[in-house]
């Protein structure tokens, strides 16, 4: 009950006119940052951090966290419209979001994405409000072995679901791992696979690979059709939002499942990226329309977006309660807290009640305001696709180049992006799946790191992955997910089937 009273105090703080204005400004800035290439949430928050020094800490964190929400919303826009995920957790959104846009259903895809984001975030905030201390204690149980278990589960729930030949899937995923391992090995502090090139020191950044493989690759694929290309003449309809809403309740089960996966991943903190992939993979298995995933199913947008936002939001909890950022953006927010003289950690909830509950209240309101703002933009955004391809294509190319450049401020990366683009096109034509490769590039390093940390701790014994009930059950879940096709076959064989003629 005390939490509820605290929350109402928080609302009182947030509802001051100045704070509401700050919130709207933050959301708008965030959406712009999310849409612009190369200005991810982390960058955006970092750049705007100094602007907030003149405000009170509470107003400042409201502004910054609203930029964060805005960027989360904005990330989905480019994924759906141009197949360019601006953030790692939007990758899974492209799988069905972009095909929907190609079918002329960009409005539906965007509405579904925004609404699911909102649902996911709301679920996570409610969880934070009610069980924050409990959750913080749960997060502490996650050591390297448990973290590896989570990554293992993410990979397993994703393998075996692609339609492409299994060996091509394996090859694609392993190439992703290999690319991820280039550069400095964090565990030994040694350079590997750089072959003496200074440029390879930093490795292959995920964003460059994705902008190339997805963004540029998509333009090349579209070009095959030539310029007679039909222009995706989507009817722009201002009621599209409500029509989509009417469809969404059907997917409540997917939503709920994705919320839970997201919160779990966010708190761990494994982050929003494995959450979105895992949620997409599981939704594909569980859905009766699973075989249609990847061709523009609305459920395939709902699942990853819900999970990503539930994770993105709940990632703020370990940051506040433990001082461990669950995402790069959370890391910058953490820096902000320190500058305002607030020490994140267990004492923050005791000593800075007004601040913490102001922040939580702003999460509720910020998401509502954010949803309203982005939904009003849906028809406008969908209209972008009506611009002729020979104008929009070079502009997308320019934006891709800017995005690739800003990752490391390096023109070498721009060339690399082009190489990835051609490579992605060839892979696609040769029937290699891109999704497992990207998953491996994104999570490869983190998975390898936790695997080796565990082995260091156990002195090389693999039994560490079965050493307690927590890691044991995560690993078991992973194995079940991996062998699910076989298991479900066995189950259907055992179960007596109604005779059909």
């Amino acid at each position: 009950m005390e939490e509820i009273a605290n929350l109402f105090n928080g609302f009182a703080v947030v509802l001051q006119p100045f704070n509401i204005m700050v919130m709207v400004v933050g959301i708008l800035l965030g959406v712009i940052i999310g849409v612009l290439p190369g200005l991810g949430g982390a960058n955006g928050v970092a750049i705007l951090l100094p602007l907030t020094f003149s405000m009170s800490p509470t107003s400042a964190i409201i502004m910054l966290s609203c930029i964060y929400w805005g960027a989360l919303f904005g990330g989905a826009i480019t994924s759906v419209l141009f197949n360019i995920p601006g953030e790692p957790w939007s990758v899974a959104t492209t799988f069905d979001g972009h095909p929907m846009a190609q079918k002329g259903k960009a409005g539906e895809a965007l509405t579904a994405a925004f609404t699911s984001s909102f649902v996911g975030a709301l679920f996570a905030v409610i969880m934070i409000t009610l069980v924050a201390p409990l959750v913080a204690a749960f997060a502490l149980r996650f050591g390297p072995a448990e973290k590896f278990g989570v990554y293992f589960l993410a990979f397993c729930s994703f393998i075996g679901m692609s339609k492409e030949p299994p060996f091509k899937t394996v090859a694609a995923m392993m190439i992703g791992f290999a690319l991820a391992s280039v550069g400095l090995d964090e565990m030994t502090g040694q350079l590997r696979l750089t072959f003496g090139f200074e440029k390879l020191l930093t490795g292959f950044d995920f964003l460059i690979a994705v902008i190339g493989l997805f963004g540029i690759g998509e333009i090349l694929l579209t070009m095959e059709e030539g310029l007679s290309f039909k222009g995706r003449s989507a009817k722009i309809n201002s009621r599209v939002v409500f029509q989509t809403w009417a469809q969404l309740p059907r997917y409540w089960m997917t939503s709920l499942r994705s919320c839970i996966i997201g919160c779990w991943m966010g708190v761990t903190p494994a982050g929003a990226t494995p959450a979105s992939f895992m949620s997409y993979g599981i939704a594909k298995r569980a859905s009766k329309d699973g075989h249609k995933f990847g061709t523009g199913e609305i459920e395939g947008v709902v699942a990853p977006e819900t999970a990503a936002h539930a994770a993105g939001t709940s990632a703020l909890l370990p940051m506040l309660a433990l001082g461990v950022p669950g995402s790069p953006t959370a890391a910058v927010l953490l820096g902000g807290l320190l500058i305002w003289g607030l020490q994140p950690g267990p004492m923050l909830f005791v000593e800075q009640k007004e601040f913490v509950w102001g922040l939580i209240a702003s999460m509720y309101l910020g998401n509502v305001v954010g949803l309203l703002i982005v939904l009003t933009c849906v028809p406008l955004l969908a209209a972008i696709l009506r611009i002729p391809f020979s104008i929009i294509a070079p502009v997308i190319l320019v934006f891709c180049a800017i995005g690739a450049y800003t990752v490391h401020n390096s023109t070498f990366d721009v060339m690399l992006m082009m190489v990835f683009g051609v490579f992605g096109y060839l892979l696609k034509k040769c029937n290699y799946p891109l999704a497992p490769m990207v998953l491996a590039i994104v999570l490869g390093n983190a998975a390898e790191e936790s695997f080796r940390q565990s082995l260091l701790a156990s002195q090389g014994s693999l039994t560490i992955f079965w050493s307690n009930w927590l890691v044991g059950s995560i690993m078991a879940l992973g194995l079940i997910a991996l062998f699910w096709p076989l298991i479900s076959q066995a189950l259907t064989r055992v179960r007596p089937r109604p005779v059909t003629t």
Partner: protein, 147 residues
């Protein structure tokens, strides 16, 4: 494609071996992971190679010639574009890319080409350099203008 991947796998394996792929006194060494991954790629690619061979698809192209020409007509200007960025900066080369693309592939008139080709870089400049203070690569022309 599978052939390319075999080459790639061999590079990865070679690179891993040079940093050490076995166990050190304090745990697996830097090349431990990539080495086995290289082996996986090698194995999978050999299977893929063999499969495409036995399908008789080895000689078939992945797309029609007309399609390939279309794709190349995008790849070439884009490659020139990314090669120009380090030399003349991103703004001028972007303007050139958009102009070439619209004129050559889209067959628009100059009255349409020029505003778009000039407008996009200028808008980009204002947003990135002025508002968000993100420096993008610049060349001689920007230098002369004093940025």
């Amino acid at each position: 494609m599978a052939g390319l991947m075999i080459v790639f796998a061999l590079i990865v394996i070679g690179g891993s071996m040079s940093v050490g792929f076995n166990w050190d006194f304090d745990g697996p060494r830097a090349g431990f992971f990539p080495f086995y991954i290289g082996l996986f790629i090698l194995g999978a690619s050999i299977v893929n190679f063999w499969q495409s061979w036995s399908d008789g698809a080895g000689g078939r192209l992945f797309a029609e010639w007309g399609q390939i020409r279309q794709v190349v007509s995008v790849v070439v200007p884009s490659t020139v574009y990314v090669a120009l960025v380090p030399w003349i900066g991103i703004y001028v080369s972007s303007a050139l890319l958009i102009a070439v693309f619209m004129k050559w592939l889209g067959r628009y008139g100059w009255s349409m080409v020029l505003p778009v080709a000039a407008g996009v870089p200028v808008a980009t400049f204002i947003v990135f350099e002025r508002w968000f203070l993100v420096p993008l690569p610049k060349g001689l022309i920007e230098e002369l203008l004093g940025f």
